[in-house]
């Protein structure tokens, strides 16, 4: 897996609300330091001042109450905690108050074991962009509508540089939004444990200039902006779209989750391979477990195209 993600942009406050979250974090940090030291400093001081050698038995005093002090150490921390609750609330408000869809770009996110897919609304030509990485224009509200296939598990779309995260739940559509003022490439990590390749489930958010985005969005390119379009066979497109590469390598012999498909045509005939896609548990290769791969209910023509791609590379 190409883990060339670098946590880029963590300190640049790329998303508009990142500074609100950080402000809340640092207010919390300093209040915590004050509260923590209000316990720990007296503890060290008393342990030193009333150390065994220093105290005569007759000087010990049983102080058991001090109303003023007790009220103080109840009310002052309570007030401080209410300040923290407030900042927790306000920083949530900026994260969770969605902008109007009419003033935003809506992108549909699908998380499945173990890849991300971004699907855009149709452009003027009726063309629908689909991409692994997310491409968005600078200075624009982006709303992510996220879900996972019904037979999949929970994931979470976590963008550390933006300080945002929300679970991606099968059978539900969850939302989050952002507005980035800085160009750049930002990591997306899966933060809800989802199995074997949970820690490989990365993608990226590319914030690009508006003009570049517009040009790409209104075009019919099947790859991201600035990338050179490579002619893909229908089978290869299906292979990418269905996230097959998340579990099966095809260019190398590496076993990811399922077996490698390199040279699979020499080992199995087309009927076996079709069954392996539509009803994977029918004949599980040795060393692999039934139930790991979900059945893929695709039209026959698509299954044929996939098998062609697997056996011939086209």
């Amino acid at each position: 897996m190409d883990v060339n993600n670098t946590l880029q942009g963590f300190n640049t406050m790329a998303a508009t609300f990142a500074k609100d979250v950080d402000q809340a974090f640092w207010i919390n940090f300093w209040i915590s330091v004050i509260l923590g030291l209000s316990v720990i400093i007296p503890m060290f001081y008393f342990a030193w001042k009333y150390r065994e050698k220093n105290v005569k038995d007759e000087d010990i005093e049983n102080v058991t109450h001090n109303t003023a002090l007790e009220i103080a150490w109840t009310l002052i921390p309570t007030a401080m905690l209410m300040v923290l609750f407030y900042y927790g609330y306000t920083s949530m408000q900026v994260l969770r108050t969605m902008p109007a869809e009419s003033e935003s770009i809506v992108v549909h996110v699908e998380g499945k074991k173990w890849s991300w897919k971004h699907t855009y609304e149709a452009n003027k030509n009726g063309f629908v962009h689909k991409s692994k990485e997310l491409y968005v224009p600078k200075d624009t509200n982006i709303i992510l509508k996220m879900t996972a296939p019904l037979n999949d598990v929970i994931h979470a779309y976590f963008v550390p540089a933006f300080r945002m995260k929300e679970d991606v739940v099968p059978g539900r559509v969850t939302k989050q939004w952002f507005h980035s003022e800085k160009l750049g490439t930002y990591d997306v990590e899966c933060a809800e444990y989802c199995g074997t390749r949970h820690s490989d489930m990365y993608t990226k958010i590319n914030v690009i200039p508006k003009a570049e985005y517009e040009a790409w969005f209104e075009g019919n390119s099947k790859v991201g902006p600035g990338e050179k379009e490579v002619e893909k066979s229908k089978g290869q497109e299906l292979y990418d779209d269905n996230g097959c590469a998340g579990c099966h390598s095809i260019d190398t012999d590496a076993t990811l989750v399922g077996p490698s498909l390199k040279g699979i045509g020499a080992k199995h005939d087309a009927t076996y391979l079709k069954d392996a896609i539509v009803t994977p548990d029918k004949d599980v290769p040795e060393g692999f477990t039934a139930g790991v791969m979900p059945p893929f209910a695709l039209p026959d023509a698509d299954v044929d195209a996939l098998v062609d791609y697997m056996t011939t590379g086209k």
Binding site: L7, M43, D57, N62, L84, F158, R197, S199
Partner: protein, 551 residues
């Protein structure tokens, strides 16, 4: 020499001659507590070894010597053992069993046979929990939280672990019930609730949580089993269920469970601080009532585990607000403990060192919990190493550290002998330093976005993982050192006498050391407060034959 509980015992069935069978069938609360300790700490070391395996794997990015699936099973095994087999039964099963009846002047718990049965139910639970290690499908890889639908679809053996959690939950309920009845019915005459030692208060508050919250996890697990084997759609969206419902039900139990772990540990702190300050505790009633209020509010805050689950924003605000109210009684306890040291005479014996060390580590663990009670901040920190560091500071640096403090404190009571204090202190310092080195870097890694349960990570995080690793080495060295000190103390330690710490509570007023089978010679009349000192000496003195006051 008078006979101690090591020499004779009551048994559940018959009158076995062999020492081994006498232990297996014993109904004596002290022996049962010791057996819990032996089993629990064996598992504890298995879970520590599993954790060390993970740290070794995480020393560098990429795969070192285990694969992702094994890693996932490793953190599940670590979590399941530490939570269900170790820390949930934890302090109540060991120290609650051994010390609580002594503290209230009882001869045993109310239902000694039930106590015996509960222990074996616990053993059954342990066996079922770990049996799947030896099945074909292998140990669960779901994490100890068993989130649906992953737990319903994984090919590993989840069902054994779920059934085990159910059995262990039953054992927990029965322990809680037994302790509740014991505390209500068997207190020595004169001992009103506000004359009980604070450890008993901690056990009492915990027992209510065990009794009332644990059934929820039982219900949840039964629903999961119905779903998996009978196809009823409850949590699995493919069958029309809702996975977030599982998260709610799971945390309705598992959040109060956190307080079930910490409250008896706080009780240990409340015993140790006055004893080694040689004076009466500050704010007795506040500490007692704050335990009760933590137990109460603890039921209403589970939603703070679900800030990023897709739950309604209004619900998040309510849960966040309530969560801050758990922090307040907890904070008050800490001020009370520190105030107890004021104008006392601080004796830095090993139990006191552990207690004071915990004031530092739990303060960090508690306050970083406040960070993630703040909704907006938690949205960033949820499911990162920050959260992992927080709960290890609170659970290991809070519950387990205080458990260790308690083990050092009551070791002479249980064994009649004293360990080597110098070596015990070295073990404390090793663990304290190792602990902080192990977990503090994770706060930073988590803040920068290192997600938890990651087998592989970005190279940027390597430095934090490596510092953690060296911390783990120091910590585990100290841990082993500590158990060697205990072991040597048990074998060759000097006789401790009945009250080596000059403590005041009833468990230190035994006719002999170690205590006899049925504890105090006579039931004492309690017309005094638990921590009465005058000029650094315990006020209340007994004639241990008649248990009449002679002061």
């Amino acid at each position: 020499m008078s006979k101690s509980y090591f020499d004779e015992t009551h048994t559940a069935i018959g009158h076995p001659k062999s020492t081994f069978m006498q232990w297996m069938l014993t109904v004596d609360h002290k022996r049962i507590g010791l057996m819990y300790a032996a089993v629990m700490f064996t598992f504890f070391f298995v879970a520590v070894a599993t954790a060390f395996l993970m740290r070794l794997e995480l020393f560098a990015p990429g795969a070192q010597f285990i694969d992702g699936d094994t890693f996932n099973q490793a953190f599940t095994l670590h979590g399941v053992i530490m939570i269900f087999l170790f820390i949930v039964p934890g302090v109540p099963a060991v120290l609650g069993n051994i010390v609580m009846p002594l503290m209230i002047g009882a001869k045993d718990v109310s239902f000694p046979r039930l106590n015996w049965f509960t222990f074996w139910l616990y053993i059954l639970g342990c066996i079922v929990a770990l049996a799947s290690l030896f099945t074909d499908a292998g140990f669960a890889d779901t994490g100890w939280t068993f989130y649906a639908p992953y737990s319903l679809t994984t090919s590993t053996n989840v069902i054994f672990t779920l059934v085990a959690a159910f059995i262990l939950g039953m054992a927990s309920i029965l322990t809680g019930l037994n302790f509740l009845v014991t505390i209500h019915r068997l207190r020595a005459p004169g001992m009103t609730f506000f004359k009980m030692p604070l450890f008993v208060w901690g056990i009492y508050a915990t027992a209510w949580i065990q009794l009332l919250a644990t059934p929820v996890v039982g219900i949840t697990l039964i629903l999961a089993i119905l779903e998996k084997y009978f196809g009823i759609g409850i949590f699995d969206p493919a069958k029309g269920g809702d996975p977030v419902l599982f998260e709610h039900l799971f945390w309705i139990y598992s959040h109060p469970a956190v307080y079930l772990m910490i409250l008896p540990a706080f009780g240990i702190m409340s015993e140790i601080i006055p004893t080694f300050s040689r004076r009466e505790i500050f704010g007795y009633r506040t500490i007692a009532l704050s335990s009760a209020s933590i137990a109460g509010i603890g039921y209403l805050v589970w939603g703070h585990h679900l800030y990023t689950s897709g739950m309604a924003d209004t619900a998040k605000v309510i849960f966040s607000f309530l969560t801050f109210f758990v922090a307040i009684p907890t904070g008050i306890k800490f001020y009370d403990w520190v105030a107890t040291m004021y104008k006392g005479k601080i004796i830095l014996s090993t139990p006191m060192l552990w207690a004071l060390g915990t004031i530092i580590t739990f303060t960090i663990g508690g306050l970083t919990g406040v960070t993630i009670a703040m909704i907006g901040v938690d949205i960033h920190l949820q499911d990162t190493y920050y959260t992992v560091a927080h709960f290890h500071y609170a659970m290991l640096g809070g519950v387990v550290f205080l458990f260790f403090a308690g083990l050092h404190y009551w070791f002479p009571l249980v064994s009649g002998k004293m360990y080597n204090e110098t070596h015990a202190k070295i073990a404390f310092y090793l663990q304290f330093v190792g602990f902080n080195l192990l977990w503090f870097p994770m706060f930073i890694a988590g803040y920068y976005g290192m997600p938890r349960r990651y087998f592989d990570y970005l190279p940027e995080f390597q430095i934090y993982h490596q510092v953690s690793f060296f911390g783990a080495v120091i910590f585990i060295t100290g841990l082993i050192y500590m158990f060697v000190v205990f072991f040597k103390g048990w074998r060759n330690g000097k006789p401790s006498g009945t009250n080596p710490w000059n403590a005041t509570t009833l468990e230190w007023h035994m006719p002999s050391s170690p205590p006899p089978l049925e504890n105090h010679s006579k039931v004492p009349y309690v017309d005094f407060n638990p921590y009465e000192y005058h000029h650094g000496e315990p006020v209340v003195k007994f004639d241990y034959e008649t248990m009449k006051r002679i002061d």
